[in-house]
């Protein structure tokens, strides 16, 4: 079951990410990104992170991507014209990205014995559900960072309003 879920949704995520890369119109890229995020939500669930799967659907593919789609429609963004692009990007960037991928894959594959295998569902050391473990840690030990994020979001809202306001 775990393997089936991983193969189906992992392939779906990779194909949608490639579609994001290859599409010229930003709205097609945005919808591909929604598919990637939904597949990742299923993978989170299969790794025993039910709360994060729900938060991924609500926050990422719900709120953030709707904001993206609204901005694309508001600015009436059309197809991007193919340009030669920066030469530094093609000379240094793509070999660099490939090198990062090769390095990461090498490390992960050489350490695969130590990393172990996953089984379906949560396997937390603490008793109780995943949500109870997250909330008890978040509201006791990490209360100050949690409150600071609310201030951060407030500042972000004010900044967004100020930046997007029409100049008088």
């Amino acid at each position: 079951m775990q393997l089936v879920l991983f193969v189906i949704f992992g392939l779906l995520a990779v194909v949608a990410a490639l579609n994001l890369l290859l599409q010229r119109h930003p709205i097609n890229s945005a919808l591909s990104l929604v598919v990637v995020m939904m597949s990742l939500a299923v993978l989170y669930w299969s790794l025993g992170a039910e709360f994060l799967a729900a938060a991924q659907v609500i926050v990422y593919s719900g709120a953030i991507m709707v904001l993206f789609v609204f901005t694309i429609m508001l600015l009436n963004a059309g197809e991007e014209e193919p340009t030669t692009g920066s030469r530094a990007a093609s000379i240094v960037g793509f070999p660099g990205a490939a090198a990062i991928f090769c390095l990461l894959s090498f490390v992960f594959l050489s350490e695969r014995k130590a990393l172990g295998a996953t089984t379906l569902g949560g396997e937390l050391n603490t008793a109780g559900s995943n949500l109870a473990a997250i909330s008890s840690l978040l509201f006791t030990k990490l209360l100050l960072p949690f409150e600071v994020t609310s201030v951060l979001i407030l500042v972000a809202i004010l900044g967004a309003v100020v930046l997007a306001r029409k100049e008088q």
């Binding site: 079951m1 775990q2 393997l3 089936v4 991983f6 990779v14 990410a17 994001l20 890369l21 930003p26 890229s29 945005a30 990637v36 995020m37 990742l40 993978l43 790794l47 025993g48 992170a49 994060l52 938060a55 991924q56 926050v59 990422y60 953030i64 904001l67 993206f68 901005t71 600015l75 991007e80 014209e81 692009g85 990007a89 093609s90 960037g93 793509f94 990205a97 490939a98 990062i100 991928f101 990461l104 992960f108 594959l109 350490e111 695969r112 990393l115 172990g116 295998a117 996953t118 396997e123 937390l124 997250i134 840690l137 978040l138 951060l152 979001i153 809202i157 967004a160 930046l163 997007a164």
Partner: protein
């Protein structure tokens, strides 16, 4: 069929999937000329890193990785709001979304 149903997945496969998504995000960041598409490729890279956090959280049987992903999501939401507001401001002043033409600080 029962063998397939009970099959486990190595953690390294999840990490390699995250590496693939991260690399596609880097490539999209370099190839795209539209500023909104560039912003979306940054979101893709953030998601790839979140997948590694969740995989390691599963591996160590600890909830800390999931809390880290929660904070990453909060910061990404704030970042998306401010970033898209900046994009709207850029479009209002320069009437373009092409990053090749947004070169005010270049000259």
């Amino acid at each position: 069929m029962t063998g397939l149903a009970n099959a486990t997945v190595p953690v390294s496969l999840y990490l390699i999937l995250a590496a693939v998504l991260f690399t596609i995000g880097i490539a999209a960041f370099l190839v795209k000329r539209n500023i909104i598409s560039i912003f979306m490729s940054i979101e893709l890279m953030l998601n790839a890193v979140n997948l590694t956090f969740v995989a390691f959280s599963h591996m160590w049987h600890q909830v800390s990785g999931q809390i880290f992903v929660f904070f990453v999501m909060v910061v990404a939401a704030a970042e998306a709001a401010v970033g898209l507001a900046i994009i709207i401001a850029i479009f209002r002043t320069r009437q373009t979304l092409n990053v090749d033409q947004i070169n005010l600080m270049k000259s």
